[in-house]
Structures are given as structure tokens and as C-alpha cells.
Point group: C2
Chain length 267, copies 2
């Protein structure tokens, strides 16, 4: 059962985890925690999420409407007038609800692959939170059950990435492998077909045999995957109409996962 806790003072120490969210987002520091916002993401966090939620902070005028979200869950729900909530957080919370979750111990990439998910995504240098969020949304939609991220890919648990993923970041297990070539080695050692997606790819994505689990590697928009990564992977492409600028990387991930999920048992 959720425990409702009224908060009247922005300096109340019990809501310290919600203080100055944006500044701490930018500094990358929530002390082993992450902040999620909005009813949709928090519904995933509380029901299907892989991370323990520590508490919620709800605007007074949204408590009644949001009760079905939190009533059955065993955590404190801090309730504050909208003005106090804004003073705590540091910006207007249009959605009226935030939650703090615990990151826990980072997942081990080899352990994720040991579960043999048939479809895996690898991200190399995806530094845009919208793109990372979009890719996790698509990974969840098409049954990819692990995402490996390199050192240059941004934090999937960043608030905006979480929001764009519609909670996908909380559902699909992910683990960091600092170097993309080490990621390729790890995937190859686990007997994955390691597919480097690029407009310069040698084979059309739909020509790839479905007899092995597949790992789809995506590079940053613009430069794409490095030559070294391309040389170490089986390169694949999506054919497009003549000469137009390539697709957005999040859209590309949706198309590629749609294609790779076809004829595999995923989900």
C-alpha cells in the first residue's frame, strides 16, 4: 500500500532526491538514482520495470486522478502543492508526477547474452537522448531483449530518454561495454551474427539468414559506425530511394528490428 506523505516545505529533507532535477541531470549525478516523469513511464516503472522505485512526488491537484497508478504499490508518495513541487524540482512539472528509482548494480553484458536473447541491439556513440529513447522504444516493440551501449552513448536512464522510450528503457535490460570493438568481440564470442548497419552495408538486411541470434549495431547519425567496427562486423544496409539523406537513426532501428524480428521467435 502506498503511503501518502504531505510535503509543505521545499526544503523538507525527505524529498531531497527531487531537488534541482535539471541541474543534476546535467551533472549526471543523482547518486545511484534516476528520475522518471509522467504517468505512462511511471506505470511501466511500477509494474513492468526492472528497477526498484523508491518514491513518487505528486502534485496535490493530481492525486485523485493518479491514485490508480500508485495505490497498490508499497512506496511513499510525497504530495505537495504545485508551487511547492516546482520549488523543489526547479521547473514546472506539467505532468504532475515524478518518481525516483534506484539504478542498482549495473548489469553485466556477458550475463545478458548468456540468457541467449534472439535479438540484441548495440549502440555506438549515440549521444542524443531522443535517439536513445526512440531506439529503446523500438527494441521493446520488436522484442529485443538486451541493449549493449558503448562509452560514448548517453545514459538511457536520463529523464528525457526515459520519456521518449515510453518506458522501454525500464523494460529492456541494458549494459555498458565501454569500447565498441570489445562489444563486437563479446557478441561474436557468444555466437551472435554481429550486423553493422550502414548505408554502405554489403548485404540487404532482409538477405541475412535467420538461423542465428542477431545483434544489430547502430552508429551515431552522420558519421555512422567507424571503419574498424564495419571491418569487424557483417555489414548490412536498408535500401532507399536514390540519393536522399539517410534515415533518422531511431527510425532506422525500428525498420531494422521489424525486419530482424520477422521469422524469429522473439518477445
Amino acid at each position: 500500500m502506498a503511503e501518502i506523505v504531505a510535503v509543505a516545505d521545499p526544503d523538507d529533507p525527505r524529498i531531497a532526491a527531487y531537488r534541482n532535477v535539471r541541474d543534476r541531470d546535467l551533472a549526471g549525478g543523482h547518486g545511484g538514482r534516476f528520475v522518471a516523469e509522467g504517468e505512462t513511464v511511471l506505470a511501466v516503472a511500477l509494474t513492468a520495470g526492472r528497477f526498484r522505485m523508491e518514491s513518487l512526488l505528486v502534485a496535490e491537484n493530481r492525486v485523485a486522478a493518479l491514485e490508480p497508478l500508485f495505490a497498490a504499490h508499497d512506496l511513499p508518495v510525497f504530495v505537495a502543492p504545485m508551487a511547492v513541487m516546482e520549488a523543489i524540482v526547479g521547473f514546472p512539472i506539467h505532468r504532475g508526477v515524478l518518481g525516483v528509482g534506484l539504478r542498482g548494480t549495473p548489469a553485466d553484458p556477458a550475463a545478458l547474452l548468456a540468457a541467449r536473447p534472439p535479438l540484441v541491439v548495440g549502440l555506438s556513440g549515440i549521444a542524443n537522448h531522443d535517439n536513445v529513447g526512440g531506439i529503446f522504444r523500438n527494441a521493446a516493440a520488436f522484442g529485443a531483449r538486451a541493449v549493449l551501449i558503448d562509452g560514448a552513448t548517453c545514459d538511457p536512464l536520463y529523464r528525457k530518454a526515459l520519456r521518449v522510450s515510453v518506458g522501454g528503457v525500464l523494460k529492456v535490460p541494458f549494459a555498458r561495454v565501454p569500447d565498441t570493438l570489445a562489444m563486437v568481440d563479446l557478441l561474436a564470442a557468444a555466437d551472435y551474427a554481429v550486423l553493422g548497419l550502414s548505408p554502405r552495408g554489403a548485404r540487404r538486411l532482409d538477405e541475412i539468414p535467420r538461423d542465428r541470434p542477431a545483434a544489430l549495431l547502430l552508429g551515431t547519425e552522420g558519421p555512422g559506425l567507424s571503419d574498424a567496427v564495419m571491418a569487424a562486423t557483417e555489414t548490412v544496409r536498408i535500401d532507399m530511394a536514390g540519393g536522399f539523406d539517410s534515415l533518422n537513426v531511431a527510425t532506422t532501428s525500428g525498420i531494422a528490428l521489424y525486419e530482424l524480428a520477422r521469422g524469429r521467435t522473439v518477445g
Copy 2:
């Protein structure tokens, strides 16, 4: 040959079309014109675009770098110090270049279909500029050669939609049909397979025969296509992993156009 015109006074009448861009965006009023920003979009506008560009406005410190963009084109290029440019436009122009184009006479939807493009997109109530831009980007990438938009779909020539489309809005002809059911009738009369895409669709998209030109209808995120439109079309779906929130509509358009372009001669 471009004609360089130095502008020192924000009230110079020759650059009236650039005045207070954001306010006029919101009011929907550029008097038969549209405003495009950034080198990538303007490169499309000047080379592959369907609309006549009237002029450019370039920040003084970007003129040398942008010369290859405009040098060969016969239009005035207004050059102003960054501070004057910001005073004209009303906000910081990080990309240092804007252009004004002429909308011309709106295209006639029946005339677009008379050219028999094998792949057409229809938009019903897509009110988000990012989504409209993303859909046009994907339409350009997969060779859709006409987009029909209903009365509730936002303006594709809005600055942000143009930017997200990476110029796709300037390449793919579009025409407005105020009512979606009238759009369906028009497409059916032109012998298109009219496909209503929805998670509730009766057939998988890849089961649709490729023997007729196809029109892909997309509804707004959330509610999707209306029951009346669903009843009037051949409904199709994209299968996803169990129970997850549906895809973003722009991503959906990318997947569906990828699938529909396969086995058709498009481009």
C-alpha cells in the same frame, strides 16, 4: 548568380519577410511564403525543391562558409551581422542561415494521383510537426511520391516540420484534402489499394499484394484512424512484441514504407 545585399538596419523593408518569424509561425501567416532554416534544408530547397526560393538571409560570419550553397543560384542573399539578424528574426539563428520560399498555388490532389505514383501516404489528424516532418523524411527515403493531408494535419511547410524532414517536405509533392473520408474516396477512385494502418488492422502489412499502387493512411498517435476511416479502408497492422505501447507514428511510417516499397518500382 546570387546577389549579395548588405543589411545594417533591422527595419530595412527589403527583409520584411524575415521579420518576427516565430510570431508569424504561430499565427500561421507568412503571406503565401514559408521560412526554411539551416544549410541542409536550404541545399534541398535550392537544388531539388519544388518551391521557388525568393531570398536568403545569412549571418555575416557565415557568408564565406555558405557561399557554395548559394553562389550558383539567382536570388538575393541578404547579409547582416548576427546581432542585426537576431533583431530581424526575433530569436537566435544558431545555423546562421534562413531562406524565404513561395508557396505558390496549392497542388490539386487528383492531379498528384493522375501521375500514378506507386506509393502514396495519407495523413489524418497528424498535428505534431515533428511527426509530420519525420513522415516526409521517410516518404522521401522510400520513394513515396505524393502525400495527401487532411484538414487536421499541420502545415508541412512550418519551419520545424521542414527541419525534421531534412528537406523531404520540399521534395515530396503534397496536397490537402480537408476530409479523410473524401481522401479515401479519391484514392479508391484512382484505383489505389487504400491501407488503413492500425494495431487493430486485419492483415499483416507484408501480406498485402504488390499488384496495385498503394496508399498508406496514418492516423494521429493515440486514437489513430477513426472507425469510419477503418471501415472504408483495407486495414493493416505491424506485429509487435506482446503488449507494448505502439510505435511512434513517424517510426511506423518508416517501417510501413520500407515494407510497401519492397517489390515495387519506386523512386
